[in-house]
């Protein structure tokens, strides 16, 4: 079994700025992601396999969602086919398949909705583009709703604000409800329910990993920087993606948080019970699963008796935390109300920098020329700080405070217009590697532009998915895999701890 990404040609950069490709019908029709096994689906409360009466169940589910979720119904009803979204999706730009245009992706579901839930579609389906739900249609849903990372770039362009992510989440929920789940997401959610995190990391292994990092921090700085686990009575509970315990460059970010907390002199802890920020329940549009995952955070906060909750660098986790946590697992009246509930680690770090409590030597990042990739769920699904646009400005303020060289990428590819990394929304799986490489093309094109014009050699992301995705696909575009960095990795480079041995001391 050869590695999954070896069979495809390396894609070419688009001329920058990003060019719109000529359409190629069916170009990514054969892109499919592994289906979940029965045990994955059942662990999430879904049928293990395709139900014999799947058609009735799917239509009923669609009706239920349209009734329960008014936005979903409006999105299905409101599109006027203006075309503003057509060139906004990185998967369309990367694959040239017209069904990856947001309007076409929506229409896969909309056409069926019309057939069964609108007057015209019931009686004159041929007049209004309504179609019957068949097995072919169901398969098409599975294929193309797993080529959407739910990044919502198209929603910013839509004059009606139609959010393809909501439609894509609903489609996946309908698929799950008839027993057709995606292996990547469903296996992971099932694992989290058992072990507390997506990796399946048990407390003993987690503790060993953290101790190893403490050893490295001591070696590097000469200071005993702790990464506490399950400490009752700590002030702050840090909820961070489990990738921060495992992957590069994520781990460097976690070591950065530890340095910041150490410098700030606060008491903090991780939880082995809620050892995951990620919440894949959102990707599959399952409120129940999203709630169950969120509830672990509440439980951990109560059990440990903390006063504050801070989230580490994880894109969709911050959307869930910032926008939904209170509804899913609130009220958080047992936490200290003087702090944001929850707070983002970058908000915390920026406070420490601006108050002067964090000692910074920016020159320690002088070899780096840095740019920032806004993660889609942070950019379009959350906020930070107390000013509008804080989710864009807070990370940049931190980076500019710790680095001397910073250049933004093309305006149309950052902030609210940011592209998805290509691996978000449950697509960060090896069986979709070809799609991930193609979907990264617009971002890689924008990065190449600042690399050529300003010598940018590091791109920072604040999302575990973005980091893994870029570490994997960047080499396909000729960048070293360590071009992608954690924000707190650069913070960690520049922070000088009290009592830290620096090279200057040695001289």
């Amino acid at each position: 079994m050869a590695p999954l990404d070896d069979k495809k040609d390396v894609p070419m950069f688009s001329d920058y700025p990003q060019q719109i490709p000529k359409i190629e019908c069916g170009a990514s029709l054969d892109t499919d992601t592994f289906k979940a096994y029965p045990e994955h689906n059942e662990a999430l409360g879904f049928p293990g396999e395709l139900l014999p009466n799947w058609k009735e169940v799917a239509i009923a589910k669609m009706g239920e969602l349209a009734k329960k979720n008014r936005a979903f119904q409006v999105y299905l009803d409101a599109c006027v086919k203006c075309g503003a979204c057509t060139d906004k999706c990185q998967y369309f730009l990367g694959t040239s398949d017209p069904k990856n245009m947001p309007v076409a992706r929506q229409d896969l579901l909309r056409s069926v909705y019309r057939r069964y839930f609108t007057f015209a579609g019931k009686y004159f389906p041929w007049l209004v583009g309504a179609r019957d739900l068949t097995k072919e249609v169901l398969d098409e849903w599975y294929t193309y709703y797993h080529q959407c990372s739910q990044c919502r770039r198209c929603a910013v362009a839509c004059p009606y604000g139609i959010d393809t992510a909501e439609i894509s989440m609903a489609a996946r929920e309908i698929l799950d409800s008839v027993g057709v789940g995606q292996k990547y997401c469903n296996e992971i959610i099932a694992k989290l329910k058992k072990t507390g995190n997506n990796l399946g990391l048990n407390p003993k292994a987690l503790r060993a990993t953290l101790e190893d990092m403490e050893e490295d921090l001591l070696d590097e700085t000469g200071v005993e920087v702790k990464i506490p686990l399950d400490v009752k009575g700590a002030d702050i509970l840090l909820i961070t993606p489990s990738a921060d315990f495992f992957a590069e460059p994520h781990i460097e970010g976690l070591m950065g948080y530890a340095k910041v907390f150490h410098s700030a002199g606060v008491s903090w802890t991780l939880s082995s019970y809620a050892s995951e920020a990620a919440n894949f329940g959102m990707f599959i549009g399952s409120y129940e699963n999203m709630r169950e995952v969120s509830w672990r955070i509440r439980q951990a906060a109560k059990d440990l008796g903390v006063k504050r909750i801070i989230f580490g660098e994880c894109g969709h986790a911050w959307r869930v935390a910032y926008s939904f946590l209170n509804t899913l697992a609130g009220p958080f009246d047992f936490l200290d109300q003087n702090y944001p509930i929850p707070q983002h680690i970058l908000e915390f770090t920026l406070d420490e920098i601006e108050s002067g409590r964090l000692k910074i030597d920016k020159s320690r990042n002088d070899e780096h020329v840095v740019t920032f990739h806004d993660s889609c769920n942070v950019a379009r699904g959350s906020a930070m700080g107390d000013k509008e646009g804080g989710q864009f400005d807070v990370p940049r303020a931190v980076l500019k405070a710790v680095c001397n060289n910073f250049h933004d990428m093309e305006r149309d590819t950052i902030r609210e217009n940011t592209f998805c990394c290509g691996g978000g929304g449950g697509l960060l799986t090896d069986d979709l590697m070809d799609l991930r490489i193609k979907g990264a093309k617009p971002r890689m094109t924008a990065l190449k532009q600042v690399a050529d014009e300003h010598g940018v050699n590091k791109m920072v992301a604040i999302c575990a998915i973005c980091k893994t995705q870029f570490a994997k696909v960047m080499p396909k575009y000729g960048f070293d895999m360590d071009t992608i960095q954690s924000a707190h990795q650069l913070v960690a480079n520049a922070v000088i701890l009290d009592g830290q041995e620096t090279e200057d001391d040695a001289e």
Binding site: N202, P241, S242, A247, I465
Partner: protein
């Protein structure tokens, strides 16, 4: 889906990870490596053996950083670094080396 180890079939999933971890043997590792187009050297074996030892103690694969540190200790900094690990296992030391070592695939945002 199965590997053929001297006429015995060893089941694996869509991506080549073995289904029953107890099916692993050194011979099987060789067969998996061949399917991955990797020629096993002493350095590959050092990684595979460390992964198996770690898994036995912790029931999970180590963080890449932990792996690299251990290999650095046993084989020196020329082998124990990220870049070299990717030369040994082009698809990544975490996933590809785990597959050959007969460990489950690391899941999540990794």
């Amino acid at each position: 889906m199965a590997y053929d180890v001297n006429g015995t079939a060893v089941e694996h999933d869509e991506e080549g990870y073995i289904t029953n971890l107890s099916d692993w043997s050194q011979e099987l590792a060789g067969v998996i490596a061949q399917a991955e187009e990797i020629e096993m050297t002493d350095e590959h074996w050092a990684v595979v053996n460390f992964l198996r030892d770690y898994y036995e103690e912790y029931q999970i694969a180590p963080a890449v950083r932990v792996l690299i540190k251990a290999i650095k200790k046993s084989m020196g900094p020329e082998v124990g670094n990220n870049k070299y690990m990717y030369e040994l296992f082009p698809y990544g030391p975490a996933k590809q080396a785990c597959k050959i070592a007969g460990l489950p695939k690391p899941t999540g945002c990794v």
